[in-house]
């Protein structure tokens, strides 16, 4: 894209998209430069200086083993954005493929996919994650696998519903009458019109996945210590919520801010992609 094309594109962005994208970019940049932004290390403990309230030295205070909370929140950006990204876009990729194929092909494939989807939706997530942790051991990769097994369903549903509509449209019929192979019709012609709602949903999904890790941490099923992951920090700080509110609240705030920026992006994208205003938060 030329500079002018970029400028024109930016000019078409609704305000929510601009604000959201700016915030998100800021968060990403902060995460990239986290090691240079504070003088502390996210892992180094200072047991003598534990549970210090926010001050100039420690703007977010220190946690229950004396680590600087701000430093951990900033380093957490890397981890949480990575978690959010992988848990959202990997399942989205094959969820879309399966859903689109299912909607396009119909027949036994569709029936099979829908029953598979029902099983995945109806299966209790907690059992699954405990099982996977037990087999593979705890860690981020375990959460990934558990999410991979289940999170595709929403995308498959969305893609399938959209594909059912697109399938009947003239341009798809035209492509079929021209004798294009199915894969080309599905992926080259119909797909671009199918993915919009998924892209918008993925913004909310991103936040939901970070929150999921937080809930898992509450149950002790999240990422292992001492990783500065926001959800784990929120959960670890909860025993101190009345005497050291900052340990748990400020990482929570980071989730809120990230969520807000993604939500704005989602809203703006819904607008920009000209889809029927289907936003999910």
């Amino acid at each position: 894209m030329t500079a002018i094309a970029i400028r024109d594109e930016l000019a078409r962005w609704p305000a929510s998209l601009k604000i959201g994208a700016t915030f998100f970019l800021l968060i990403v940049v902060t995460g990239l430069f986290a090691p240079w932004l504070t003088p502390y290390d996210p892992y180094t403990q200072d047991l003598a200086g534990f549970l210090q309230p926010p001050s100039w030295r420690h703007p977010f205070g220190t946690d229950h083993v004396g680590r600087d909370v701000l430093t951990r929140v900033l380093h957490g950006i890397r981890i949480d954005l990575q978690i959010g990204f992988i848990t959202t876009y990997v399942p989205m990729t094959y969820g879309l493929l399966l859903g689109a194929l299912s909607g396009y092909l119909g027949g036994w494939f569709d029936t099979l996919m829908m029953r598979l989807l029902d099983v995945a939706v109806a299966f209790p997530f907690l059992v699954l994650i405990i099982v996977i942790i037990a087999i593979l051991g705890p860690g981020v990769h375990t959460i990934y696998i558990a999410v991979f097994l289940l999170a595709w369903t929403m995308y498959a549903r969305l893609a399938r519903a959209e594909m059912l509509v697109e399938r009947g449209k003239d341009y798809v019929l035209a492509a079929r009458t021209l004798g294009y192979p199915t894969s080309r019709v599905v992926f080259r012609h119909a797909m671009p019109n199918v993915i919009n709602s998924s892209i918008v949903f993925s913004m909310a999904d991103f936040v939901l996945n970070i929150l999921l890790v937080s809930s898992l941490s509450f149950l002790g099923l999240g990422v292992p210590p001492p990783l500065p992951e926001w959800g784990a920090m929120v959960a670890e700080g909860r025993d101190f919520i009345f005497d050291a509110w900052w340990i748990s609240t400020l990482p929570g705030l980071a989730i809120v801010v990230t969520g807000a920026s993604l939500s704005l992006i989602g809203d703006g994208l819904a607008h920009r992609l000209g889809q029927r205003q289907r936003s999910f938060l």
């Binding site: 892992y43 180094t44 403990q45 047991l47 003598a48 534990f50 229950h64 083993v65 004396g66 405990i130 942790i133 037990a134 051991g137 705890p138 149950l219 002790g220 099923l221 292992p224 210590p225 001492p226 670890e236 909860r238 025993d239 101190f240 919520i241 009345f242 005497d243 050291a244």
Partner: protein, 516 residues
Amino acid sequence: MSRQPYFRALGAALLAAAATLAVGDVAAAADVKRGGTLVLARPEEPLTFNPFVPADNGSIYAIEQVCDSLTEADATGLGLRPGLAESWEISADTLTYVFKLRDAQFSNGQPVTVDDVVFSLRTAGGPTAAYAFGFEPILAVEAADDSHVTITLKRPYTPLLSVLSLFAAAIVEKASFEADTDGFGQKPVCSGPFRVEEYARGSSVVMVRNDNYWDIGVDGQPLPYLDRIEMLYVPESNSRVLGLRSGDYDVIASVPFNQARQLEGDSEVTLEAQPIFRLDYVYLNHGKAPLDKKEIRLALNYAADREAILKTVYFGFGEIPNSYMPKVNYHSDTVEQIPYDIEKAKELVAAAGYDGTPIDLMLSTGDAPGKQIATILQQAWQAAGLNVNIVEFESGTAWDMTTKGEYQAYVSYITSDINDTDELAVIQADVNSGTNAFFTWYNNPEVIDLLAKARQSADSNERAGLYAKVQDIAYHDGYSVPLNFVPSVNAYHNYVSGWRTVANGWWWLKDVSVDK
């Protein structure tokens, strides 16, 4: 949620000096207030009231309020007193015990008969009872006449009276139990101070006064003082503290240490930090490299800053240990503590020729203090030059790995039900005792030899010396990384009196009264 494993060892002899562990006076005056309801919030829920299917603290502490046994723990838990057995006689060869039953009734009004006693004790020693091993030395339980029960032993067994005081030796009403064993687990018929009125699984047990209870209070009237107990299951510690403050709960059990310090300042609330038979420590698997090297194990000990842990994790509650086991009767104060010395730790790591084999430090999910400890230890041990990963496992899995020896280090704890060093010493330090030195695979022939000597000795001074020696050797062998002798911390409103935690960890509610 209870931390696993929760090993309750059975002890033998009782310590005469028990009363020295003072726990406040039993309501001295006769003006004790009767009636009322006590609302008690705890982090564990009872799973069953069937005393032969134990169990977990959630169930045991509740069963203790409902079921009675031939002998029972006194108010401190350090001594024994007669329970349903009014008195007993022991034969000269110590192989035959004859118990005289008290004239007592079950909560349904039926008398406690010798049949019930024989049935209960046989069940407790039956093939599916978890505590059966405690009853293994028993040859036979028989009715002597309408009011006497005879227990004969295969061999001399001093712990018998202690074993009989356990919840697992509770006397149940045979007819009710046999008619509906599963139903009994929900609504037991026992002869304790309270009876279960309503058991809402997953949320609460409502107990009401058993009007047929035999014991007498300080005012000369039958115990208990309370009319009713609502024992609530409140797993979230913040919620318990809030509920205590808002007046929803009268007593809360297991106050988190950081909030305990805050509650200390609350004038309406009494905070109780009662020493119990508990040691928090890091299990080490001596069978796995690099923990097979004594230098490494000692390095772990030298590198652990216990003062800091006591301050940051326990908020000063507890005592830095000088032993590999809880502070029970033959505990020696003279064993020298391993100091915090990171340089020494580094030297030891170097001396061991450490090859970088990582140590997986395991903890159970949901164990918040354990997580904090693991986090601190990881950094400390890394500073000593060791590679340490923290691995978190759901408690069932963690316990499974521990018993199978598929772990390296595990942040956990141990408690003893009974005030006698011998049993835990043997279980923890004798690799041939059946639990592989409590899943450490610690194997020191000298210790095994000393323990055998101690068991054969009748002289308590000699035994004390031998146990002290074992304590010294095992502790300095780097048996484990002991962290803290942890007290039980509970809090109650000032209008609650007579509350006490016994050294075994649970509480007698029959002595509690409420004057709102």
